[in-house]
């Protein structure tokens, strides 16, 4: 129902902290855009500027083609789900959902219908007479969602809405949010620092670092073609192995050693080589690529897969093997990876095309 566009958006807080340093993002109608990045990178600040809860120091935010910089949060036609839910503690679930509608002067029967419908969608019908403190964390989360959807807004904004739930519930709610967002077709911006949440939810993924956008794209495109060592190490778990020939690539944890020992010809300008743990293979090398021998230091069986932690020609790395592994600490395991699965980065940490 709406597009969201950020143009050169900057935020300088009163104390002089520049939290957002010029961000351009274009979010398509009905898309779910996830902002992901480490703590303090400015995700919440950016979201709050879209919501109108924070003034915009520079640049423009447009919703549906209209610049909304000077419009208050209530008039932007957005709904927000907060990290701690921010339910009104003294109001019943029903009133929590109805409050925003009443303030807009909506007629009682329509409010009633909308609240009932939202409650049904979210399986809250039995809880409408309770107060927030009589609900479990997951139920509160649903009420917060309900409060957002009854409004039928142009844009949903989520600020780490699942971070207070336990792992199992988080997985459930993640699926639910995705389905709900699809079904309602409401353009959404979702902030998280959990890369799994980011990968699974996003239509459009924005990786942020230090107040700047590192990369924008479809989750799998970013996974396959990370634009920088930062993105490479942030997206994917366990993170990509970054093997450097020089110290100093920004933001990523890499081990430094001699790349020439790996048997790969790297494109000119490359100082860092990246290999995802899952791209290593243990069978006989059948193509050009990286070849080395891993000295196993530790084995982590997870069930469906195992991770071998070890060193190979100066570098620390993690290798994923499917199922159980018979490797023991101290074993030397020959591993290889096809050349087209390798990632190359220059001294500034930017991607070098192979």
């Amino acid at each position: 129902m709406a597009t969201v566009e950020l143009n050169g958006v900057r935020k300088v807080y009163a104390g002089g902290v520049e939290a957002v340093k010029g961000v351009d993002i274009k979010i398509a109608d009905k898309a779910l855009c996830v902002l992901v990045g480490p703590s303090g990178c400015g995700k919440s600040t950016l979201l709050r500027m879209i919501a109108g809860l924070e003034t915009i120091s520079d640049g423009t935010v447009s919703i549906d083609g209209k610049v909304v910089n000077t419009i208050g949060p209530a008039e932007r036609d957005i709904a927000m789900v907060f990290q701690n839910y921010a339910l009104y503690p003294h109001m019943k679930v029903y009133d929590n959902m109805a409050y925003g509608l009443r303030n807009r002067g909506m007629k009682k029967p329509e409010i009633d219908e909308r609240v009932k419908r939202a409650a049904e969608t979210l399986e809250l019908s039995a809880l409408l007479d309770r107060r927030p403190r009589e609900l479990s964390g997951g139920q509160r989360q649903r009420v917060a969602m309900g409060r957002a959807i009854v409004r039928n807004p142009k844009v949903f904004l989520f600020d780490e809405p699942l971070s207070n739930l336990d792992a199992k519930l988080r997985g459930q709610m993640r699926v639910e949010i995705k389905n709900l967002q699809r079904a309602l077709g409401v353009t959404s911006v979702y902030v998280t620092h959990d890369q799994l949440e980011a990968m699974t939810l996003a239509d459009q993924l924005v990786v942020m670092n230090g107040g700047l956008v590192e990369q924008i794209g479809a989750p799998l495109d970013i996974y396959e073609q990370p634009a920088s060592t930062f993105v490479a190490s942030f997206i994917g778990a366990p993170p990509m192995n970054l093997l450097g020939s020089e110290q100093g690539t920004k933001g990523a944890s890499l081990t430094v050693g001699d790349l020439s020992g790996l048997g790969v010809t790297v494109p000119p300008g490359t100082t860092t080589l990246g290999v995802r743990p899952e791209d290593f293979r243990l069978d006989a090398p059948a193509a050009e690529g990286l070849r080395t021998e891993l000295t196993v230091v530790a084995v982590e069986p997870v069930g469906a897969e195992s991770f071998l932690h070890g060193t190979a020609s100066d570098f620390r790395m993690v290798v994923r093997v499917p199922g159980r592994s018979s490797a023991q600490p101290g074993d030397r395991v020959p591993v290889w990876a096809e050349r087209f699965k390798l990632h190359f980065f220059d001294r500034n940490g930017r991607r070098v095309q192979a």
């Binding site: 907060f82 303030n103 807009r104």
Partner: protein, 304 residues
């Protein structure tokens, strides 16, 4: 082997028993001491009140002939009837009802006025950003150091100039100005999570709606507590009402009590003074008892 096990079991049982004895985490003996101390405290606090009550049930003659008995006498109905419905002449032609009404109006006025003013000023200071905000905050804060007694002369002059002597306004307004309640509400408002304020903004609640729909209901328990404290504060005011009232029918009951006591012991209607004392205690006690139930309900219902 079996013996060893038996011993271990015995030790466990002994341990268990010891734990039972100290279940609340306090040894039994300390609990007795605590109770004795509390009971002593209650006796010390309650005895004067009891003694006043006893005195209010004896005739003037009995009271004037020491020692005063420790048990209530037979004049209860006579004394209370006379204080409530007769004896209009005694306090300058004003009956007890007028005095109680005056005191109630003043105490209510002070309590409600203070709560409204301090709620509003705390709201402004915590939730709005305006020029000189901190200056205003400190101005309010400084008044803490200026109790009524310190500013009594200028305030009196102002009241005279405004023709407010012998009016409820004159009795109430100068006592409303103080910072304690403002600071209390400020502290409470500061604990309200920013997210809640933002959620309300997104929900389209303007400043007034936010105050009325969210802040006020959340402050209920605080308001109730303050009301009790301020009502009693207003009820027991002495110096200011003494200064600002000349007419007997504008006296509060506390002032009237003072006026009932003559210099010569024999001229004082002690039995009626004692009755009036008892009557003067009743409204504050009622407020405490009634509001206490309210506290508990508030505590159960709200909480974040």
């Amino acid at each position: 082997m079996a013996e060893a096990q038996g011993q271990a079991k015995g030790a466990a049982v002994a341990l268990g028993r010891r734990e039972d004895g100290a279940m609340i985490g306090i040894p039994r003996r300390s609990r007795y001491i605590a109770h004795v101390a509390l009971i002593l405290g209650i006796l010390i606090v309650a005895f004067p009140i009891y003694y006043t009550f006893v005195a209010s049930t004896h005739s003037l003659q009995t009271i004037l002939r020491p020692p005063l008995p420790l048990l209530p006498g037979r004049e209860f109905f006579n004394n209370y009837y006379e204080a409530l419905f007769g004896g209009v002449g005694r306090i300058g032609g004003v009956d007890v009802w007028t005095l109680l009404l005056n005191s109630t109006i003043v105490a209510l006025g002070i309590a409600i006025g203070k709560i409204i003013i301090s709620l509003l000023s705390a709201y402004a200071i915590v939730f709005f950003r305006f020029p000189l905000r901190m200056v205003f905050f400190w101005l309010i804060f400084i008044t803490l150091m200026l109790p009524v007694e310190v500013r009594i002369l200028p305030t009196y002059k102002v009241m005279v100039d405004l023709n407010l002597i012998d009016t409820y306004t004159g009795l109430i307004v100068p006592l409303i100005a103080s910072a304690t309640a403002t600071l209390l509400f400020r502290q409470f408002f500061l604990t309200i999570p920013g997210e809640l304020v933002e959620a309300a903004r997104v929900d389209g609640a303007g400043p007034w709606r936010f105050f009325k729909d969210i802040l006020l209901p959340l402050s209920r328990t605080n308001i109730a507590a303050l009301f009790v404290i301020l009502f009693i504060y207003g009820w027991t005011q002495y110096l200011w009402p003494l200064l600002v009232t000349n007419r007997n029918d504008m006296n509060t009951i506390v002032i009237a009590l003072r006026k009932m006591i003559s210099f010569a012991d024999a001229d004082t209607q002690w039995h009626l003074v004692m009755v009036t004392c008892m009557l003067a205690i009743v409204p504050p006690v009622l407020v405490v008892v009634l509001m206490q139930r309210w506290f508990v309900r508030g505590l159960v219902e709200t909480e974040k």
